[in-house]
């Protein structure tokens, strides 16, 4: 085998926190061969991003310390002076980051930012650099590259910005590209395009790629070899098929067991609990169990949404006249039974969150009715609304933002109980303790503050608070999206258990198709504010009828290298915007029942 492009040996990186040095990476060694793609996988705190920053030597010199050896084609990067290292960055090793929205400088043009690397490393003059930058923009398949060249980052979508980042990184033809979660912030269809682009460019340029991700699906899609990291250590380093098929380390096994896979649910009618995993050795105990049948199909629906429409005006001009409208939610209708989970899926801006908030009237809907237990909530005055909100609760995406940092968690859970005079004093305390036990936390933790809990624990606390009023409906808005894979599985199991115990109905809002497949009874696919397909989970996943549903499903990366999808067309779609002019009329379409209970939006 030829000499590796990158050879990391005994890498140790430490950060100074409050006067003490703490190791973020301990004794890490791995190689990247020419033309090879190595994926570093791990959950938050595994040290995977720090590894990338250490290789680039972008760790703060005052508060960070890197030891060991990082050899780029035999040259030890840690021995270079800062000026020599600068000449390596962007030239021999380039890097792209997770957040395309914030990784480009907002006050400099896209063209300028691509030219920079060329001018400082290649010494090209302005005209030559611009010509080369333009060529790079075309290479990353940005349409009408010439106009884009003079644009500022805010004029570009997230996917386009990530393409610009890639163009910048590849401008000087680096030997190694480090990609730190480059698609995590992107929608799944855009993610598929960017992954495709990276693969294609890798073939064209013959460079090596170090790909950092938490997503096993993405790993399976792109990696030749996988390095699994956990708390700053390397646990496993093997070719991708081997890691997926015969993982050696317990943690890897646990990680893989916790990943929902699209298509796993064939043959299962009801949601499937995640298997119990021993956190110490990763042993998977028992088979995944199907959840109990909770759906009260014979009763009248708990929630009937009909023709729900929410629009926001866009004002502009001298007198603040209405210029257009965001059609966030457009004529959405569905029903939800007691004990049922209906998933609302779709990509960013499709209106799924606005739908959830409109039902709770956290946002006022423009038109339509929301019947809860037969009564129309949209007509309720303030008093009735406050009453009905006890029965409808919400859990949010960001576990760090959903709890008040200044309130102890016990007080936060007790507050709704006390405010609504459900209990007080010792009785209220007992109720709080019971709720905390129910979500798997010790009541003794009630005196602590949110910052003392992990993300998963906070999400449990948010669930406990939502349960305090014994709701019948819970709107879960991306409730597990921000959690690590293993924690995600536990929280989803908790939600399934609570559904069985209290007969809760969930409106499960998510962009993650694999999770949705796992936990929902029925699925509604949203696109541009409308439901384009609605049916049982089995029907929608096994037999998608709407072209958008098919596109969405085919874009989901599957965590199995053997099922790596064939090269697709290098599409350059953008997610369309639901902003319409004032005189916009919806095309004549309606949900048509193509099979019993399976509706698809079609022209009529």
């Amino acid at each position: 085998m030829s000499r590796p492009v990158l050879s990391v040996q005994n890498l140790q990186t430490a950060f100074r926190v409050g006067g003490q040095w703490r190791w973020a990476i301990e004794d890490l060694s791995f190689d990247v061969a020419p033309g090879e793609t190595v994926a570093i996988v791990g959950e938050s705190g595994s040290g995977k991003s720090v590894t990338a920053l250490s290789i680039m030597r972008l760790v703060s010199a005052a508060n960070g310390r890197i030891e060991g050896k990082i050899a780029l084609e035999g040259r030890d990067l840690l021995a270079l002076s800062e000026e020599e290292m600068r000449k390596v960055r962007g030239n021999d090793v380039a890097m792209i980051f997770q957040e395309p929205m914030t990784s480009l400088n907002p006050v400099l043009t896209v063209g300028y930012q691509i030219c920079e690397a060329l001018r400082y490393h290649r010494g090209l003059d302005k005209a030559a650099a611009e010509a080369e930058a333009l060529r790079m923009l075309e290479k990353v398949r940005i349409p009408s590259a010439k106009t884009r060249f003079g644009n500022y980052p805010h004029q570009l979508s997230g996917g386009m910005r990530q393409r610009v980042m890639i163009a910048t990184a590849l401008a000087c033809k680096p030997k190694l590209l480090i990609a730190d979660e480059p698609t995590t912030a992107l929608d799944v269809t855009i993610q598929a395009q960017i992954l495709e682009l990276i693969k294609t460019l890798q073939d064209e340029e013959g460079m090596s790629v170090l790909f950092i991700t938490h997503d096993m699906g993405v790993v399976a899609e792109i990696a030749d070899r996988v390095v699994v990291m956990w708390k700053g250590r390397k646990l496993e380093d093997a070719p991708a098929p081997q890691v997926f098929n015969t993982p050696v380390h317990g943690y890897t096994k646990a990680l893989l067991a916790a990943v929902p896979r699209l298509g796993d649910m064939e043959g299962h009618g009801r949601p499937l609990r995640f298997p119990h995993i021993d956190p110490d050795n990763g042993e998977v105990r028992g088979k995944p169990v199907e959840a109990a049948d909770t759906v009260k199909a014979e009763e009248a629906p708990l929630l009937e949404v009909s023709g729900l429409t929410t629009r926001f005006g866009i004002r502009g001009g001298l007198l603040g006249r209405l210029r257009g409208r965001v059609h966030a939610v457009e004529n959405v209708s569905f029903t939800l039974q007691r004990g049922e989970t209906l998933a609302l899926v779709g990509e960013s801006g499709c209106g799924k969150s606005t739908t959830g908030r409109s039902i709770l009237r956290l946002i006022e809907p423009t038109a339509g009715t929301v019947r809860f237990e037969g009564r129309d909530v949209t007509g309720f005055g303030k008093g009735d609304l406050l009453n009905v909100r006890r029965d409808m609760q919400m859990i949010f995406q960001d576990p760090f933002a959903s709890l008040n940092p200044r309130k102890s968690v016990g007080a936060a859970i007790a507050e709704p109980i006390v405010v609504h005079a459900l209990a007080k004093g010792a009785e209220a305390r007992e109720r709080v303790a019971e709720l905390m036990r129910r979500v798997g936390l010790s009541p003794a933790m009630g005196t602590r503050y949110p910052h003392e809990f992990s993300g998963g624990q906070r999400q449990r606390l948010a669930i406990a608070r939502a349960l305090a009023l014994s709701p019948k409906l819970v709107v879960a808005d991306e409730a597990v999206s921000a959690l690590d894979v293993s924690v995600k599985a536990q929280v989803l199991n908790l939600m399934l258990d609570l559904q069985a115990e209290f007969g809760l109905a969930y409106l499960f809002i998510s962009h993650d198709m694999a999770v949705v497949e796992r936990v929902s009874h029925r699925v509604a696919v949203m696109y541009l504010g409308e439901i384009v397909e609605l049916g049982t989970r089995e029907a929608v996943f096994a037999n998608p009828r709407h072209p958008y549903t098919r596109k969405l499903l085919s874009a989901v990366p599957v965590p199995d290298p053997a099922r790596r999808s064939l090269r697709r067309e290098l599409a350059i779609d953008e997610i369309p915007s639901p902003i319409r002019t004032l005189d916009w009329r919806a095309p004549a379409q309606a949900l048509v029942e193509v099979a019993p209970g399976h509706f698809v939006r079609q022209a009529v």
Partner: protein, 312 residues
């Protein structure tokens, strides 16, 4: 761009109207008859009646309001009760003194404050940072008249580098001599503010992802700091420079008094001491006008620095 300017000018007109109306109302609801206040307790009834006519106080309120507003638009701001000269003339004769002082001070403030703030930020928690932080905190603790007096004692009385009373003749060196201490006084205090804002803005910007991207592509450090970071950090600095104008005008009043320099400051203090109501009305209008114009200038500067700001 055009629409933006029209909108801002429209807002400026509304603001001016609001201030004029406020001035009109305030002068009339303040306890005591202005004529009585002007003439003092010993004045007899006929003198007071004559003064009321002179002030236009005998007409109906609507009429008074109309006369006041239409006069203000035509540039007829009434006649000073003390000197008898038109208010607008009095103001325009000293306005250049104040304007040149504020502009020079502002330049000094920005020229010292921005580089110092950047320097402190990139040396965070090291000697240059500590020194700059203490110095800037001290700078903004000075009441402007105290610092002016200290400059006066130091440079004019003890060192005798500058005249105690600033007067200028035509020559450049005379201009410099009369400008140096007042402008230094105002400029240094302003520099203290700007240093702090520039420092904290730079600290925030240096944490941004795009600064990391710039470093990751091998851009030299000075380009990272002065082009990538500073251009973004300038946005809050511009806000402060715009907002600081109010403070600067207040400080210039005190500075003008200490250095005995002609300007709006001395004019307004004189008007206050002599209860020259028409003069005070005119000064309120001119101050509002300056503030509104500077706000428009600030908005335009934003658009120049930050492409995300759309001028429409």
């Amino acid at each position: 761009m055009g629409a933006f300017l029209v909108k801002r000018l429209g807002f400026a007109v509304v603001t001016l109207w609001a201030v004029l109306s406020l001035v009109f109302v305030v002068v009339r609801i303040v306890p005591g008859d202005p004529a009585q206040v002007i003439l003092g307790d010993q004045a007899d009834a006929t003198a007071i009646a004559a003064m009321r006519t002179r002030l236009g106080l005998d007409a109906s309120l609507i009429e008074q309001y109309w006369t006041f507003l239409s006069g203000a638009i035509r540039g007829d701001w009434g006649v000073s009760l003390v000197t008898g000269r038109p208010v607008i003339q009095e103001i325009l004769s000293v306005l250049p003194w104040t304007l040149e002082l504020t502009v020079v001070s502002m330049l000094i403030g920005v020229a010292i404050g921005v580089p110092l703030g950047v320097w402190a930020a990139i040396n965070r928690n090291r000697m240059p940072d500590y020194v700059t932080r203490i110095a800037s905190l001290l700078g903004l603790s000075f009441p402007p008249f105290v610092s002016a007096i200290i400059l006066l004692i130091l440079f004019a009385i003890m060192l005798r580098w500058f005249p105690v009373i600033s007067a200028r003749s035509g020559s450049a060196s005379a201009w410099f001599q009369s400008m140096a201490l007042p402008a230094l006084n105002l400029g240094l205090i302003m520099a203290a503010y700007i240093t702090r804002v520039a420092r904290s803005a730079m600290l925030e910007v240096m944490q941004e992802d795009y600064v990391r991207s710039a470093r990751a592509k091998g851009v030299p450090w000075h380009v990272v700091v002065w082009r990538h970071a500073l251009r973004n950090a300038l946005i809050p600095v511009i806000t402060i420079v715009g907002l600081y104008l109010g403070i600067l005008i207040g400080n210039s009043v005190l500075t003008e008094i200490v250095f005995n320099r002609p300007g709006l400051g001395k004019l307004i203090v004189g008007a206050l001491n002599q209860r020259d109501y028409t003069m005070l009305q005119g000064m309120m209008v001119i101050y509002t006008l300056i503030v509104v114009l500077v706000n428009i200038a600030t908005d335009l500067t934003y658009a120049f620095v930050d492409p995300r700001v759309k001028l429409s």
